[in-house]
Every structure is written in structure tokens, then in C-alpha cells.
Symmetry: D2
Subunit: 379 residues, 4 copies
């Protein structure tokens, strides 16, 4: 078993999910020849980063990411910082020859993203972006079904990601906990945070997006800012919706918001094809809904496929428990670590790559520009 | 179009549902050659029976059922009175050569039921008992699927009928509105009222029941009686559950209660066969759930079949609207009237017949005796 | 009981649903002082219209709608013809002083609609348009909850109406059965047929729509035309989606299509407010989903309200059966007839009126123009 | 951080779930002062046990459980062997002063169980039995709601555990993989394997069971035996159902089977109280269904509570991710390890204890005896 020395930058929510992925992957994927080693975690607040290192058993800590990248004993750098530092860190890490696993969205905008892709491809280092929902077993199966041609010509793709956690006007913005509400740190609001997930999955399942017409809204116009201590204008989009055409001729509808009372993380998508349709919902991530028009007439109906009742033909469920017993959200990160290690071992390109994530970034950019200009925009 | 002159005895809840069936059947089953004519309705309270006749357009009223049966212009007698008068009325009607449509349960007990069957078969008159749930389109389709052999060997049958309307201790018992809470009028509580439905469907779908072990309970021991004006012991079973063996070797589980908070009329059944399983729920009566083990492995799942999306192979849905548009509870009675008229026109025996209902009565009787004696009872 | 003499023009699917409404209303709404009388039905094919009249018990037939309107014994004209004749018939009927019940959409376009409203208001005749989904009990309850202020500030409204019946390329267009696929007869495709329902409900529940950006698609470009016998270009929109702003500041998303495999009549809407959210689905029309943020924290969840379990505070369910027992699609038309008769008896304006339907027509028009021009359009 | 040295005996399915619990507990419960150390795993097949030790990072292996118990460096013995060795191992471990975590069911029968409880209580060692479903967060919340008195008087408790994995007659019995089909190793079939879970939860939530009437069935009478290589009679119960009375006066219905086509691990329970009802289903373990009769009349409905949307008042969910993001089956074992360690640290009795598990054993025994004798049995 060879070590794969991990250096984690940022230890927030995503730092936890990734770390859990590193620690568990060999228990469940014994065929791997590498074991991730939690070499170092990096954060500016020394006390907090040590606390995190203690809890999760990192061997050491750093307070400056440049120091972490400079270390010889780090093989792979995992970027879990706010979006406005992804580019600088990733480019430096690429130059240092490190493998890179970067949180989504790739960057603040396509211009940054292009530089990152250029750097990484020039350095030739292994890379991936954590669009983890591709590796929900039910979503992976949707991809299989589409690749097997079961849907036929696709007519419609619709997706939304609905949350409700920012309705309260007293919630502040900015700072370590709430940088997602501050466009300076996040680049955008729900577009980069939530729609980016929907777009990544959509491109993976249904191909490229051609053009978009979008609408954004900021429902709460001012919030206390954690860094200035004053009420400041809210700079992000609270909600974003867009219509689009896919290259394959199908129509797309996308929506995300943090103002949909009653939904915590309702990421759903549905694809309607000539022969079959598929839908999925993160709230019940272990089920795939499937309608097959080729079923016998009187017995046609949406099937609720409990993904644990697998037949061994999909890559993840036979690693876990037995039929009927669910896995959850965190497992998507274990799967992504497993596939990343496999890509190292086989030499195949890990997906989604930085280049894949750049395409998603470009769609996000077209969406934001369409909303700002009230016109259709090509991607 | 020939007239089928109806004489209705009793004008409570079931009087309404049957009358609606008579009035609507020719609009939706134009192939029928008979039209039900609402000739007379009979009830002891002259004012109320006239009010009912006015609302529903009956041509005349009677206050004594013997007078109604004596009329030459009545072809079919419909018995919607409390259970303790079914036998006397049905036997008299049979002697008068009338067709008979009798509310369920057939009688107070098997002894009464046997006399009724004897009378009706001796008279050779058309007859049926209103076990209307056989004619919910989804239930009818369950029967089709079973008859087509899709389930294979059956292992399990379970059914329940759960309500919650008698939890309140202040609810009185007895009288016109609440005779169902008085064993003198009803024969039993939930066993005859609710379980009888479950048993009729079960025998129809899965064959005869061999033996039972049962448990009953009366949760509220005393209630004000509407006829005496005093608190009296409650004589009915508030809840009843039983285990049984079917003749085909499968195991049965049945339960009914009026104390299941949150359920209004949760009549559900599920059948587990070697190759496929079926389940259904009256609360969503337009759906049939179906699991087929012969489906491709990774795509196995319970299908939710919206019964309106039919292929024309079942007898009722193409009479109504278009796919996606539901029918409801009352339509089962329209279907039963349609099938009754068809049986007259074709000479085929209408099911469920009095004889069918007698078998259900015998199971109810075995259940009540098992509960009273704490022993298994053969049917 | 006073007669309300009905003259029905057109006897297709909607002719059946309306007629059923007229025939059943007094059985279930005994407080009404008028009884609809099926005086005459009108259609160009004399044989077929007589057959319809026989089945449904109309007293007479006409083959020219002008003759029907000219009859003194007709109080109310019900227009169930293809959309391209609504305006001419309605204006003539108004001039003749008849009450008018018109199928939706009101007209081919707003210009026609304005003339109709002008005619009807000048004549001062009772009028309504059959946007029947307002009178699904669960939808009516949604309106109650909103009017009671339970949602607070509304952020999002989304609706779709998904069908799948035109995917087959061999389906022809035009003629008596398929005029909905011919823009000359229908005005538009899914926009007027399906989205119009969504828009009517939305305006009723959430107020006026300010501006829209839309996208339409015709997936099958040519179909055999029933009238020419040749392949002709398809002139309707097969699918239509739009984003919009409501006057109250909320964002709207609407979609309809006849190419959503697996959905027969999936009319759904969801409204997200500050304090509560509501959703509803025509496939399970007897349920209203409700989320109340004011519920105790750990017990918050979407409630599935079985509309039959009512407390008497809504206008329809206590007319029918008992809790747990469903009504269906056709009952919405009975309700609309009942409310129309009540409006005659009380003098209150019946809703939706022609004027209400004109607003919906204007939104449809803006949607179609936005899609054609690829720009945002004000309503 | 103090070590808690674990010695695991048996490394099958349960060996994996427990080991995962030990390895993850400190990542998510940082307040614990002990860290489980995977000191040794014991199994008779030396090659396989070493492979397991390698995969899961156990420090050493043993091939005789007596050697493991004899080791000074083991604090806690975890028994994951077939049921027929639980008693001998547990009694020896107690004598050796080890803490004991024993897989369920406790023993082959109550006589064995009594000796085990006696040994463990005499030794005064910490102990628990892995009835893990108590620690599904939704089930834990059900317990909270009941303890808060929200249900009022309880009328009904029903539970079932339905699987379908032994329908195939070609499946053999016995040996390492299929000892659950051999009564010599397992004691019973579904009664000890599945119903025991239902009974443990039921007693925890609803109190003791007084008497039972039961029915068992063996659908496939002979199977190839892995140890003899010949067709042998099947000695276990394939299915078991029973009715019962609880001490609190409520009625119980329980069923389990491995012949319910379409169900993989459908463990469900429902409790109907005077004021509220609760239901839960392992297939969607992250949801609790709740009906509260005290809700406003027109808004009463079953709530689907997504357990991730917690308010911090329950003990587990705030350890994991954020609202909307599910955990799964394996987390119940992490919770049980966490609570076991807390019990060591606080001195409070860990539940379920051996004594608790003995009560469940007694109910199982009464069930099997009732089925064999066709009579009611007291527990």
C-alpha cells in the first residue's frame, strides 16, 4: 500500500467531507493500492486549525498555504477555501507539481478558470473538481441508463436546487462562516454555489448548453456584514433561474434559490426522453425514479428504484452494505477519492477535471450576464 | 332502452351512493339496454324520506318496506337499512320475485345468511351485495394481474382498514346516525363494517380462508346511547385483528380499527407472490403499486401505476375521461350498477352474489368466535 | 325549482364534462333554486350530435349555432367549440342576451378577447370561462390559505403542465379530433391549451404577471393533416417555458409540454412564501402539500393533507362523501356549475369571468411574442 | 484521549458494521475521552481473518476466541459470531472482566440468556446488545415524542420486517455465509433475525408485551446444506406473524418474512395514539412520518419530517452534515459506539443492556411456542 500524502487547505464544511473521504476509502475500496495519509491541514487561525487537526488526526498544520505547497512530503493539495482564492492556490500548486483536488466552483469567473486550466495542463498534474453529486449511486446509474441509449431523443431537462436558509433578514453576511453571501469572496450567490452543481450534472448527462435567458433576484437588499460590522448592500444573487437550449436540441429549465421555504437541499433533476424518463432528488438520494414507455401498456408507471437493490452493475453500491440499507451524502466524497486514486493508478483522466469545471463556469457566467442584460446569451 | 324500476329501502349514506350509481350509469355505459328508474324510496321518517326523494328525484316514497315490495312497478329492491333488517327484507323480496341488491355485510350472522341464500336461490332472482371495492379500477386490475398468473405462488396477503372517527369518548352510540356502534343493529363493530370489505376482496383475489386466530378490543367501554339517553355498555368491537391461512397455503394478516389516529379510510392490501407483488390503498385509489421481479435487475422497483393511464384492457377507465384525470369513490357504485345490468342482459351470474357474501360472513363469524374463545377457529 | 335552460355548442370532451356538471349539480347542491335543463346540443354532424343527445338526454339538437342562439327557450349558451369560433359565437350570444359559459382559452388572441369582453359587458349577461382547476377542492383551499395571509411575502411561484401524448410522429394533426395540434383552429399549442390553466391559477393565487421571457419549441416539424391528407408543417408550439416577474415581486417559472414521457396531466404548482409553502399536483388532486415554518422546530415537515379530511371550512367537500373518500376530475365542473348558479341567484360576479380570462390571454400573448422575438416582453 | 482496546470475534457483515463504528466515532463525537483501538480480530479461518485485519487495520488476529479473551490488552469483547456461540463467549468474557458488546439476538433461547445476564451482572461489566435501530435518528426522535407524552393513550402498535432474499429454492442453507437459515446455528429464522429487532424497538417505545398468538411457516421445506452437501429439511421459520397485547392496553401486530417480493429490508413501525400517530420505514430511514390531531382542522395531514432538518434537540444529527443531507444505515453503529463510550465515562447504564435483550428473547420464545402449539402464550 503506497501513501498518498494529502495537504488540505481550508477546514470548513468541505474540509470535513473531504477528510472523511480520505479516511474511509481504503476500508471500502480494498482494491486500491494507495492509502491517503492526512499529512497536513492549513488554515489562518492557528488555534482552530490545530483543533481540526486533532479531531481528524492530521499529522501537522500550516497557517500559510504557500508553506504547505512548498513541502516535499505533500503529494496532493486539496483546496477547500472560499472561491476567491482557488485560482491563486491552484496555479501555485500546479507549478509545484502537486496533484490538485479543488472545491467547486472552479473559480470566480471564466477568465480565472482558463488560467487555472492552462496551468494545470501545462504542469500535467492529476486534477479534479469536487462536483460530488456525479457519484451519488442513483445519479451514476442515471448516467449509465443514458449512455445505454435507453431514453432515445431527449426533449426536456429540468433541474433545481432549492434551499431556505437565508430567508431571515437578521442573518448577517460575510466572514468565515458566511462568505457564501458575499460576492467578493464567492463570486456569485446561488449561481456558483447551487446552480453550478445542477449545470455540472446536466452537461455530464445531457451534453453542452448552447444559450440561456436568465433572471436573478436579491430579495434581501442589505445585511449586516461580519467584517465591517455595518449594514451593507447584499451583492449576491439570492435566486437565479434560466431557460436554455442544449446542443442536442433539448430544452432546459434551471432554478436555484435560498428562499424556498420547506426545502433544505432539494436538488432535483428530471430528463424526459422519447422512450424513457428519469428523475432524482437529493432529499431521497437513494432512490431513482424511472419511467419506461416500453413497459407493457397497462403496467406503465414510474418505478421507485431503491438503489441499494443493485445487480452489481454499478460501481459503488456493492462496496457498502446489503440491499435495503442506505448510504448517504458523505459517501459521494469517498467515491470521488476512490475514483481519483484509480485514475492515478490507471492513468485515465479523472472526471470532472478542471477543464470540465471550466465549461460549467462558462455557463454560470452566461447566466449571470443574461440576467444582468435581460437578453439571451450564448455560452 | 328498457326501464329497470328501482325501489330503495333506506336513504342514509349508502342510499346516496347507490342512487348516484343508478342516475349516472347510462351516461357512461351507453351500451346498456336498461335504464334504472328511481321509482320509489322507502323510510320510516316520512318527512325525511320525502326530502331525500325530492333531492334525488325519486318518483314516490313509501314508509313501510313491505308496501314497497308489494308494488308491481318495482323490478329491483335495494336494501340500505341497518344490518339487522337485511335478512327479513331480502327473504320477503325474494319471495316477491324481485331482484335484490343488498348492502354489506349480508346479515348479522351466517345462520341468517344461509336463509337468505336459500331464499334467493329458490326464487332464482338476480342478486348482488355491495362490496363495491372490487370495482375500483385499480383493484379490478389487481384481479386481472393475478388471474394472468403474474404473481406465481402467493406467500403473503395482508390488509387493513383503519379509521379514527370514534376515538372521542363523547361520541354517542345507536340510533339512525350511529347504529354502526350498536351490536344489536350492526351485528358487530369493525369486523362486519370494515374487515368484511377486506375479506371479500381477499377471497376474490386470493381464494378461501381456512382458519383464523383473532383478537378484538373495545377501547371505550361505555357511551351514551341515543335511544335510551343513558350511558350503556358498548357492545361492538372497536378494533379487530386476525392471522389466517388461506387454502392456497399463503399467510394472511388482517386488521381494522376506528382508533388509528390519522387514517380516515385507509383500506390497504398487499399481496406478495413468487414473481411479483401488488399493493393498493383506498386513500389514493387511482394508483396500483406493482413490483415485478422479472424486470431487469438494476431497474427493479415498485411502480406507481396511475390507473387512468390505461391501455384499454380493463373494463372501466375508458368509460370516463382521459389519461391523468382521476375518478373517485362514487364511481365504484356506478360500475356495480353497470355490471349488474349487464348480468341481467347476458344471464351471467353477478358477483359478488349473496352466496359470495355468505362466505365472507362465515369468515367474520370465525374471527369473532376466535377472539371470544382465544383459540384458532376453522372457517 | 326554476329551470336554467342550457344550449350546448360542441359535444367533444368538454361537452361531456360540462353536461355531467349540469346533470349532477342538484343532487349534491340541494340549496340551489335552479335546475339546469339540457334543452339543446348543437353540432355540425347531425348523426353524431343526435347520438350525443340520446346518450346524455338532451331534449333537442341543432346543427347551426346561430339557430341555437336564436331560440327563446335557451337561457345559457355553453361554448365548447374549437378556439377559433369562441369569439364569433360569444359575441352573438351576448347580443342575444344569453348567459355564456365559454371553454378556455377565451379566444385566439387578446384582440378577439377584448371584443368579447366588450360585448359581454355591454350586454350585461352572466358569464364565465371554464378554468375549472380553481374548483379542485385542494386548489380552492390553497387560495383560502393565501387569502388568510399564511404564506407571508411570496418569493417563488412555479407551475408546469406536462403531458406526453404527441411524441409519436405518426400522430396526425387537425380535424375534429386533433384541432388542438393545428394553430389555425387552436391559436397556439401548449401555451393556450395547458399554460393558460397554469396562468389562470397563478394570477388567482399570486396576482398579476408583469413581464416574461419565453422559449417555445416544435419538436415534430411536420405531420399528416387530417383535412388535407398531406404532410403539412406543424404550426403549434409543442413545448413552452417562461420566466416572469409577478407584480408582488415574486419570481415565476412556468413550463408546459406534450413531450414529457411518463406524465399524462401533471399539472403542478408550488408557492414559496416567507412563512409557508404550498404545492399541488393534478395527478393526486385530492392532496394538498403544505409546509409551515411556524410549526415546532423538530416537527417541521411537508404535510400531505387529504382534502377529504376537511373541517367544513371549505366550500365543496362536505357536499360529497365522508372523510377518506375521494372525488375526482369531473367534480370541478359540477362545482363550477354550482357556483355559476349561485352567482345568478346572488347577483355576485362569477369568477373567472371573461375579463379574468382576458388577462390570462394577454399573458399567453406576451409569452408567444417573447419566444418569437427572443426578448423580454411586458404583459 | 484514552484507548478503549477492542477485540472483535467474528468478521462477517456485522464485524464490518461494528468496526466502521469504532473507526469513525471520534471524528464525529469529539467530546468523547476514549478512542477505540482495533487491537485484535478473531476468526477460525486464519487466512480470511488476516485479510479482514489488513483491510480494516486491526493490529493483530486470533483464531481461538479463548485466546482473545485471555489477552490483557483487550478491554472490550465484541461478539459477532453465529447465535449459538453467544452464550459461551459472553459468559467467559464476563468472567474475564471484559466489557461486552454482543450482536443480537442475545442467545438461542431465554435459558441461555438468563445465564448470560447472571454472568454479566455478577461480573459488573459494561454491556450492550446491538439492537442498532434504536439509534436511527428518526427512531430516536419517535422515542422523544412518546416520552414527551404527545401521543396520549396508545391504541395500536404495528411493525413488520419484510425481506425477499430466500424465495429462490436453489439457495442452500448453513455454513459461514448462510448460518441464518440453519436453526442449529441461528436458533430460529426470521423470529430471532428480524422480529427481534421489531420487538426490541416496540418494548422501548411502547412498553412490555403481555401475551401473544403467533403463526409461523416454512415455505421451502428442503434446501441443500452447505455442511453436509445434501438436501436437508429446513429447520427455521421463513415467516412469522403474531398478535399481542401490550401491558399498556394497546394491541400489537407483528410480521416478518423473507418471502415478501419487492422488499429488501422494509422494517416499518406505526404507533397510533389518542392525539398523534407516528410511522417509520427503514427503506427511507431519514424520514419520520407524524400526524398530530391537535393541528388546526383543515391543515391536518401526515408530516414527512426530513430528520436532517433538526432543531438541535436530538442527540445525533448535529454531529453530521447540514440540513437536507442524509446519513444512512451504518451511522446507527457509530451512534451505539458513541453512547457506549459515554456510558463508560458517565457510569450510566448503557441501553439496550443484556437484561433488555433478555426481555426481547422471552417474547421471541413465547412467539415460537405459540406458533408451535396454536395457542395464546403469556410472555
Amino acid at each position: 500500500m503506497k501513501p498518498l500524502n494529502i495537504g488540505l487547505i481550508g477546514y470548513g464544511f468541505m474540509g470535513r467531507t473531504h477528510t472523511n473521504g480520505y479516511k474511509r476509502v481504503n476500508d471500502f475500496f480494498p482494491e486500491l493500492k494507495h492509502r491517503p495519509i492526512l499529512k497536513a491541514v492549513c488554515g489562518r487561525n492557528e488555534e482552530k486549525v490545530k483543533e481540526f487537526a486533532d479531531q481528524w488526526q492530521y499529522e501537522s498544520t500550516e497557517s500559510d498555504w504557500r508553506d504547505l505547497i512548498a513541502r516535499d512530503d505533500i503529494d496532493a493539495v486539496d483546496i477547500c477555501t472560499p472561491n476567491n482564492s482557488h485560482a491563486e492556490i491552484a496555479i501555485a500548486a500546479a507549478k509545484a507539481g502537486k496533484m490538485i483536488l479543488c472545491e467547486k466552483p472552479l473559480a470566480l469567473n471564466p477568465a480565472e478558470g482558463e488560467k487555472m486550466v492552462e496551468a494545470i495542463e501545462k504542469a500535467g498534474v492529476a486534477n479534479t473538481v469536487w462536483y460530488n453529486y456525479r457519484r451519488v449511486p442513483a445519479v451514476t446509474m442515471a448516467k449509465q441508463l443514458i449512455d445505454e441509449g435507453r431514453l432515445g431523443r431527449v426533449f426536456h431537462y429540468r433541474a433545481n436546487f432549492l434551499q431556505d436558509w437565508t430567508i431571515n433578514e437578521d442573518l448577517p453576511q460575510g466572514g468565515a462562516a458566511l462568505w457564501r453571501l458575499d460576492a467578493a469572496a464567492a463570486g456569485s450567490g446561488v449561481t456558483g454555489d447551487l446552480l453550478a452543481h445542477c449545470i455540472d450534472t446536466a452537461i455530464w448527462l445531457n451534453g453542452s448548453i448552447k444559450d440561456v435567458t436568465a433572471m436573478t433576484e436579491t430579495f434581501v437588499k442589505e445585511r449586516m456584514h461580519n467584517e465591517t460590522g455595518k449594514k451593507e448592500p447584499v451583492t449576491i444573487d439570492d435566486a437565479c433561474a434560466f431557460l436554455c437550449h442544449f446542443q442536442n436540441g433539448s430544452l432546459g429549465l434551471f432554478e436555484s434559490t435560498r428562499y424556498a421555504r420547506g426545502h433544505k437541499a432539494l436538488y432535483t433533476f428530471e430528463i424526459n426522453g422519447e422512450n424513457a424518463s428519469i428523475r432524482w432528488d437529493l432529499h431521497d438520494l437513494h432512490r431513482l425514479e424511472y419511467f419506461d414507455h416500453n413497459d407493457e401498456g397497462k403496467l406503465r408507471g414510474w418505478r421507485s428504484i431503491h438503489i441499494s437493490d443493485h445487480d452489481g452493475s454499478q460501481p459503488y453500491m456493492d462496496k457498502w452494505w446489503v440491499p435495503g440499507l442506505n448510504i448517504g451524502y458523505e459517501h459521494t466524497f469517498v467515491h470521488q477519492v476512490a475514483d481519483f486514486i484509480k485514475s492515478i493508478e490507471t492513468g485515465e483522466t479523472m472526471r470532472p477535471s478542471f477543464r470540465d469545471a471550466l465549461e460549467t463556469q462558462r455557463v454560470c457566467d452566461a447566466v449571470l450576464k443574461s440576467a444582468a442584460s435581460h437578453t439571451w446569451k450564448n455560452v
